[in-house]
């Protein structure tokens, strides 16, 4: 008796050399180049605006340079320059508020449709049964846009930093304070990647593009608020000083309060107004703050955890693709 080999005969040339990444990259690019183009146009328009406004703000800032703004008497020319600069500042603040929605828009509109549309229209039955296999395909389809949006928004936040620099230098605003912290450094790109990852996961979970985009934007905004209020102030223990004269040019003021003679916190608003106008013995003001020297430290902490968080969400997305299908 001979033992028969019952395993499936492997025909020559069919050893599974998987489909090359380069070709999957081509598929990925073919399918997102339209939305990439849309995002590029959107960013280009915004960039042109930042460039033009940025140059005007800079010239306004330059004309303030010869003014002594600390003296009590300010010359006529300097008053005009100051008013003009103040007007620019309002523009700048509005621009910053709009900028804050950019990561959310680019991330959610970029991330949610990638797998969400595939599931909504049923084309996943086509795409996921091709020789490449759905895990590799999903990886290629997510990785390329994820890298692109992160790189594009990283460059974009540099432009914003240049645009807003005069107001940070003046200093009218602190780059450390909420709203500006997210728009500068590496945080802007990290928040965009997070919105993209939230969108991608929402697309697979909800399987409909528009609800997934809406859900991703809501979750992203919620995460940002929670981060600003509860997480970011505690990356490192804040410093506390008596009074309100915080050292350094542009720290991030977190909290200010008054205490009475026996150390209790004053909650009565009228009393506080009274104390601000005429300080009394035994009452003191306290301020907690993050010094501006910690700005980059905080940027790296926030960028780091957002990167890990985004990669975890993307891994969960791939896991769902592997597991959950028809």
């Amino acid at each position: 008796m001979t033992t028969l080999n019952t395993s499936a005969p492997r025909r020559p040339g069919t050893s599974t050399r998987p489909v090359r990444w380069r070709r999957l990259g081509a598929v990925s690019w073919r399918q997102y180049r339209l939305s990439a183009g849309g995002a590029a146009v959107f960013l280009a328009v915004l960039a042109a605006y930042l460039l033009i406004m940025g140059l005007r703000i800079r010239s306004g800032y330059a004309s303030l340079g010869s003014c002594h703004l600390t003296t009590s008497h300010i010359s006529r020319t300097c008053q005009t320059a100051l008013m003009l600069f103040g007007g620019y500042h309002v523009w700048g603040e509005t621009t910053a508020a709009i900028m804050l929605t950019v990561p959310m828009l680019i991330g959610a509109f970029g991330g949610a449709p990638i797998l969400g549309r595939e599931l909504e229209t049923g084309t996943f039955r086509f795409a996921w049964t091709q020789g490449a296999g759905r895990t590799r395909l999903a990886l290629a389809r997510l990785a390329l846009p994820a890298v692109t949006v992160t790189a594009a928004t990283a460059a974009f936040s540099q432009l914003f930093g240049w645009f807003y620099y005069p107001f940070f230098a003046f200093p009218a605003d602190s780059a450390f304070a909420p709203q500006y912290f997210e728009l500068t450094g590496i945080a802007f790109a990290a928040w965009t990647l997070a919105a993209f990852a939230i969108g991608a996961l929402a697309g697979v979970l909800i399987r409909k593009v528009v609800p997934a985009i809406a859900a991703a934007m809501a979750v992203w905004a919620g995460l940002l608020v929670v981060t600003i209020l509860y997480l970011r102030p505690h990356y490192q223990a804040p410093l506390t000083i008596r009074g309100q004269n915080v050292p350094g040019a542009s720290p991030w003021l977190i909290h200010q309060w008054w205490t009475g003679p026996d150390g209790q916190t004053i909650t009565n608003e009228n009393k506080i107004v009274q104390l601000i106008n005429s300080p009394q013995r035994g009452y003191s003001q306290w301020t907690t703050y993050q010094p501006e020297t910690r700005y980059w430290h905080f940027q790296f902490i926030e960028g780091g955890w957002l990167l890990v968080f985004s990669l975890l969400l993307l891994a969960a997305t791939i896991w769902l693709v592997r597991r959950r299908a028809a």
């Binding site: 499936a8 069919t14 599974t16 050399r17 070709r23 399918q31 020789g131 395909l137 299908a325 028809a326």
Partner: protein, 311 residues
């Protein structure tokens, strides 16, 4: 080699079993038809075969032992899902390029030649093609991959009679020419409601009902194992007690009994006539009698009770 082999295959969606203890073995080189009522589990079985979904219990292997959904299996199977999903905003030429990039093999020359024969313009967007053209494009993309197994889910559902005919002719031509990879013809598994169309093409039949295999086997042998007896209605109950009747149909004085036979030349009761049965008639009879089963091997065959009359 079995092109599909399932053993105790079960799939549950939440609390309902779409497929329950489903075991079949479909030999290679055949056109296998999967028929059954709506919701019987046809699409679930196909999804399991192509690896789109994972079984709750049991196993399914394809192409002679490869686990469904494995890289080897995906490489050798082309699937055209129901309604032929395509990227509607992509031009036909881009669909070809994309499919080529997603597979290790893709025969561009074949695909372009076939599309030009069909008069499908390469520059037109897939979503702008007619339903029949979309089905043909999906089939072309599948065939150009040179699969060893072609799986089609309700490919004829949205096609007019002429397009149905053309579509099935193309499938048959590809299967017979052995357009699979060198050394093996292409096997086909298709699910369909269109029984008349299957009669022409199917070599192998799987009848699925309530998530279970009700009948499975080569069409020729299934037909040889059944015949229709026609005789006086008054004697029908008597006959039914002696012979395994699958389905009884009475028209006034005459009764038509679909009977399972063990030998081709089994004697006919006096006063009765025997006729061979057609595939459509056979399938309809079993569809009307979900309790009846005809499976290879003795395990599942049981003698059905004589049943109440329809019509």
């Amino acid at each position: 080699m079995n092109v599909i082999e399932t053993s105790g295959l079960s799939k549950r969606y939440r609390s309902t079993w779409a497929l329950r203890d489903f075991s079949v073995a479909v030999p290679a080189g055949q056109v296998a038809a999967l028929v059954g009522p709506n919701g019987a589990g046809k699409t679930t079985l196909l999804n399991l075969t192509v690896g789109l979904t994972a079984p709750t219990a049991g196993t399914v292997t394809v192409l002679g032992g490869e686990p469904a959904g494995s890289p080897e299996a995906l490489d050798g199977i082309a699937y055209v899902a129901q309604d032929a999903p395509l990227y509607k905003n992509l031009p036909v030429a881009d669909m070809l390029q994309l499919t080529s990039n997603l597979n290790r093999r893709f025969d561009h020359g074949y695909a372009q030649e076939r599309l030009s024969e069909l008069g499908i313009p390469l520059k037109r967007k897939a979503g702008k093609l007619s339903g029949g053209q979309q089905a043909q494009l999906a089939l072309t993309l599948a065939l150009a991959r040179r699969p060893r197994l072609l799986v089609l889910d309700e490919p004829l559902a949205n096609l007019d009679p002429l397009a149905r005919h053309d579509f099935m002719a193309a499938v048959l031509a590809a299967a017979m020419k052995g357009e699979g990879e060198v050394g093996g013809g292409m096997s086909v598994l298709l699910s369909s409601h269109v029984l008349a169309e299957l009669e022409r093409v199917a070599d192998y039949l799987i009848l699925i009902s309530g998530g279970r295999a009700q009948m499975a086997g080569e069409v020729d042998s299934l037909l040889a194992r059944h015949r229709v007896l026609t005789g006086p209605a008054a004697e029908a109950d008597l006959i039914a007690r002696m012979l395994p009747v699958v389905h009884a149909r009475r028209a006034q004085a005459q009764a038509h009994l679909l009977v399972r036979t063990s030998a081709p030349a089994e004697p006919v009761p006096p006063g009765w006539e025997a006729h061979p049965v057609g595939l459509e008639e056979l399938v309809l009879a079993y569809l009307r009698e979900p309790g009846a089963a005809a499976l290879p091997g003795p395990a599942r065959i049981r003698k059905p009770e004589p049943t109440e009359v329809s019509r």
